[in-house]
Every structure is written in C-alpha cells, then in structure tokens.
Symmetry: C2
Subunit: 132 residues, 2 copies
Amino acid sequence: MIENKARKETASRSARLDSVFAALADPTRRAIIERLSRGEARVTEVAGPFHMSLNAVSKHIRVLEASGVVERHRKGRDHILSINTRSLDEVDGWIERMRRYWEERLDAMEHLLRELNKDRKLGPKGRKHGSR
Amino acid sequence: MIENKARKETASRSARLDSVFAALADPTRRAIIERLSRGEARVTEVAGPFHMSLNAVSKHIRVLEASGVVERHRKGRDHILSINTRSLDEVDGWIERMRRYWEERLDAMEHLLRELNKDRKLGPKGRKHGSR
C-alpha cells in the first residue's frame, strides 16, 4: 500500500515536471516568468511589452497556470498574476541533482587532465630531474 | 552591427532553451539523462531498463541529440552516448537567475512576516512593556 502511494507520488511529480518543462519551452512564456519574478502584476501589465494580441498572451498565461508555475488571484476588478515558486523549485531540484552527478564527473576528468599535464611537463627530460 | 550580432546570439540561445526544455518535458528522456549523468553508455545499455522497443527509445535519444543535451560518438562498432553538460548549464543558468529574483522576494516577505509577528507578540499589552 505504502509502495503504491510512493509510486503514485513519483508519477504525479513526474507529470508535474513534464508540464513545467513544456511550459518553459517557449520564449514568450519564459519572458512572462521573468517579468513575474520581479513581482506580481496585472494581466494587462504582463501583456504590455509583447508585440502580440492580449488574447495570444492570455493563451500563454493559461499554459503557465495549468503547469502550476503561475497563479492568479483577483483584487477587485483586476486579475493579478504571480509565480508559484514551489513549482520551479521542483524543476530546479531535478537539474540540481543532474548537475551534482556531472560535476563529480567533471572534477574527476579535471583531476585526470592535471595528472596528464604534470606527466607531460616532467616529460622524458623532466622525469630525469624529477626521479628521486 | 554589434547590436545585430548580440541579437542573433540571444535569439539562438533562446532557441536552444526552447529545445532543451522541450527535450526535458518527457519522463523517458529525463530517465535517459539520469542514466547518462552517471557515465557514458552504449545505446543498447541505455535502452535496456525501459519497457519499450529499441526503436521507441532511439526516437527519444534523437530528440535529446537534436536539443544538444546528448552527444554520440563511435567506438568501433558501438555508438556511445554521453551528456553535453554545457547545454544543461544554460538551462540551469536561466533557472538560477529566476531563483535569485524570487529568493530576494521570499526573503523580503519573510522579513515582513517576522516584523508582523513581533508586533503581534508584543500586542496591545506587550507594547506597553516594549515601549522604551
């Protein structure tokens, strides 16, 4: 039962990663996130700088809302958009994990290169001096 | 001219982000990256754990190669896959930038909450004691 629950959680986390990564795979949507990272804003404020119709921007906003990256609340007549940082934390966590792996590998490679360089500097000539 | 070059570079970086994020928006492709983060591997080794045809896995690998996340080289008869860390660094850089923004905002919010809490603890009664 517990295993089943864990599997369901992993599946839903994976589905969330799918939709967040898909949401980020568009320059307009990334620009909207960049704007909202500096502070919440009204839909019209967000749409302002884009050379496209309000309707087109609204579609992008809906994709961001569906992925959970962007949240909307009402303040009187205004629709205010803000970032749900938790959703991006999850993506960040995944990339961070991958990065740890590959940094370990890069460190190992760097170490190897240093060792090879040392050998080369000592060289056939250097080795004579270096042999103790 | 320089401005034009800078614009082109920004556009191509943006296109790369598009395709890397789209490549990451799939659980099989993320699992392939996780596998390769632990070390390079042959195509058949990568395909092994998946309950799908080699052809289906190969399609996912091609998407990863097109995005630049995965590279392929030949060692004799084998096709060896490895991760191109630079492509993920770029994505990581974007998320990192967003995170800096929102952490500043979260810090500011936390500070505000602490201040509000202090006020509440002092309260109408506490304030008498607290006023110096």
